[in-house]
Structures are given as C-alpha cells and as structure tokens.
C-alpha cells in the first residue's frame, strides 16, 4: 500500500534539483523559465527544490571541470534512490563547444550516469519538459521492475 503510494507520488510529482555545473547560463535560465507561467511545469506536479535529499530528478547543465566534479558527485550521492539524471544542453551531453577547452573534463556522464540527454545550445524549455516526461516514463519502469 505505502509502496504503491510512494511510486505514484514519485512519478506523478517529481521534485527537481537543478545544478549548474559550469554552463554559460543559457540552459540554466531556460530551465528556470520552465517553472514560470508561460511553460509552468508545476502543473505536472514538478517542484524545484534546493535540497538534494528531497529530490528525485537531478537536472544538470554545463560541462564538468575538476572542481565542480566533486560537488556534482556529492549531490548525486546525497539523492535518495531511485533517481533520475537529466543532462541539459550540448555541454551537458558531451562538452559542446567547450570540449577542447583546457579545464573541461567532458559531459556530465564522465562523472555520473545520465538517463536522459537534451541536445540544443541552449536547449529550449519545450525540450527540457519533454526530457523530464521521458525520464519519468523510465523511472516508472524502474519502480515497476523493483516492485
């Protein structure tokens, strides 16, 4: 009973943690724009939280460098399982235009496993919302398999 309730809650109302991992701000602002009236992801029950221990979905933008890699790993480890990671923008997917820069290690998946990749420089709010919905379908699958 409780398990079923938790599953429904997690899929129907995912709490989102956003971490800027060295992006140019473009994707961050587009992620924030998703929360505002024009796109309004809150109608899907999605809430932006600041505490990784409350979050189900980790939304990461930007490239990884040696300094923020530690923070990213920490945030990921602090989140309760099952969790979902969404890499936003060309930088988050592969390093983007910065992949050859001296202080860039690469995309998010060099540090933590990524479930959904959102291309675009910057990714459009519609694409970000689509990614969250795609990710939730995946999360539902994981939850059903474990039940």
């Amino acid at each position: 009973m409780l398990k079923r309730f938790l599953k429904t809650a997690q899929v129907r109302s995912p709490w989102l943690l956003h971490f800027d991992c060295g992006s140019c701000n473009g994707c961050d602002i587009e992620t924030l724009a998703c929360l505002t009236p024009v796109y309004d992801v809150e109608r899907f029950g999605i809430i932006n939280v600041g505490n990784p221990r409350h979050a189900d979905v980790l939304v990461v933008t930007g490239t990884v460098n040696p300094r923020n890699a530690v923070v990213l790993k920490n945030l990921y480890d602090q989140m309760p399982t099952p969790k979902l990671v969404i890499a936003i923008g060309a930088c988050g997917c592969s390093g983007g235009v910065f992949r050859e820069a001296p202080n860039v290690l690469g995309g998010i998946d060099t540090i933590i496993p990524v479930d959904v990749y959102v291309p675009g420089c910057p990714a459009k709010p519609e694409a970000i919302m689509d990614a969250v919905v795609t990710g939730l379908a995946k999360l539902k699958g994981i939850l059903e398999a474990s039940a």
């Binding site: 602002i29 923020n68 923070v71």
Partner: protein
Amino acid sequence: MARTVIPFGPQHPVLPEPIHLSLVLEDERVVEALPTLGYVHRGLELLAAKRDCTQMIQIVERVCGICSMLHAMCYCQGLEQMLGLEAPRRARLLRVVWSELHRLHSHLLWLGLFADSMGFEALFMQLWKIRERVMDVNEATTGNRVIVSVNVIGGVRADLDQGQINWIRETLVDVEAGIKNLQATIMHDPTVGRRTRGIGVLGREAAYELGAAGPTLRGSGWAQDMRQLKYAAFDELDFEPVVETAGDCWARGSVRFRESLQSMDLVRQALGKLEGQGVGGELTVKAKAKPEGEVLTRVEQPRGECLYYLKGNGTLFLERVRIRTPTFANIPALTAMLPGLDFADVPVVVLSIDPCISCTER
C-alpha cells in the same frame, strides 16, 4: 562570541550558478565573507589557439548565455577595429536593437531573481512572464531565444523587415505596459523596501575605489556607462546614464528597473532610424586582411563594463583573447558590502550585484 562559519553555495537555491562564499558569523551577523571561485571555469580564452578568429565568435557568445550578444558584439568590434573596417550604419543600428533587447531581458530576469531572493515569488513569476515576450522577439528575429548569434566580423547576419519592425513595436507596448504595471510593487512596496532600503550600502567613494562597474557603480551615484563611448550606433541616439545615489540594494534595483525602460526607448529610437533608411541595404563589409596588432574594446553589458583585449599575429588565429567582465569587477565591492549584515540579507545583497559567474570565470 563564538564564530561560526557557514558555507553559502556552491549549490544554493537562490543562485542558479555555483559560487561559494564562506560566511563568518557572530550570532546572526556576518563578520567576513570569503568567496571561492572556479566552479564554472572552462578556460575558453585559450580556445583561441584552436579556433580561428571567425569560429571564436561562437565561443565568446557562450561566455555568458544571458548577455551573449554583447560579448560577440564587443569581440567583433575589436576585430573590426584591428582590421580597419567599419560596419555599415544599418548593421550598427541592428546591433543596438539586439543588444538593448538583451539588456531588457537580462534586467527583467534579474528583477525576477531579485524578487525571488527576498521570497517574493509572485513578482518573480510576473516578471518572467513579461520577459518571455522579449524572448519571443529574439527567437522570431534571429532564430534562437538565448544565443542569438547575429554578429559577424564586419556587421550582422540578419535584417529586420518592416513587418518585423512593426511587430517589435507592438510587443514592446505590451512589455512596457506590463513593467509599468509592476512599477508600484518594485519601487514602492513597503515589504520590498524593508528588505532592500539601507541594506548592503556601497558608498560613492567606496564604489569607485573598489572598481565597481555597471548598475552597482551607478547605484552609488556615478554616471559612468560604456554606452557613453558611442560604440555601435549610440552616437545617433539620445541617451543619458541612469543614476541613483543611495548605494543600497534598492538603488541598484531602481537603476536596473529604469534601465529596462530606457532600453525599450533605445530600441524604438533605433527602429525609427532603420525605418528611415528603408528596407534592405548593406549589412556586412568583407574583411580583406588577417588580424594583426593589439586592440582593446569595451561595451556596456547589462551588468557593467565588459572589456576585450585582442592580440593578432597576422594569422587567422588570434594570439591572445583576454576578457574582463563586470561581475569580476563587482566581487570586491560585494565582499565589502557583506560584513555587518544579517545572515538573512545575504542572498538579497549577493543578488544585488547581478552576479554572472560564468562570465567571471569563463
């Protein structure tokens, strides 16, 4: 009194970007603030060795996703100066249009985040709703919402036709009405006033000595704005820097609020001149030589003065690109503002300089 050290950031709900401040507190009062940077450092100035000077436009646009157009404009103006070119008048007017639209959307974004930092979420939502109209203009006229990519060396790559000009004017009427509707709340609401007036004061002398830039400097009574250098087509437009004298968070907010209205006025002036010129016309001049020599250019970003130093060596690749951004200039001012504040005021004051960490670290 025992001292407590509270880490603020690098992941913090108020800041979309990672900056770390070690706040030394006595009770609830901040005694000292030590910033740690480097979470967004990518080293993209050094990419100049791998990308030629035309490809570098794409890189400098991504120094900052909020004021990308101004970075590209500054870089292109620098190279034009080095190559001895002058962009056609129409291109310079179009640069004003897009750069001021960028300033407008950046200020609306900031006013929203500022409201959010003091817990005024309804105002944040309203401002971002208005901002989406500006983003629509960017998308419809250039093809992208954020990174508009209109600058090329020697001019711009997109033009506005009469229909688009009319539509931008109509949209700006709505945007202006929306902003004016919120004016009473932003400028005169008592709750906003109590969170911002007299908080984080930066005196006139201190602002100058600490090398503050942009609205942070103008909020402390200095009429210094890089647009006074008359780059692009600002020589043809009526323009007075917006100045406030109080030097507190409210003054910095007020400067940005009034600048967003001023940006709309500048866009209208530039559109008027474009109409006067008729549709069509030269948009770029072709570069014949390879960049050689040194050049220093400045533009006014939404956050303040942005400086580019470019050094060419006669090949397609620039030898050095050095970027100095306004947030970097404002961080010493920020660390001077924080001591003596209540801990709860820290997010408001940090936001009041409009920190753009990705500009700062590149």
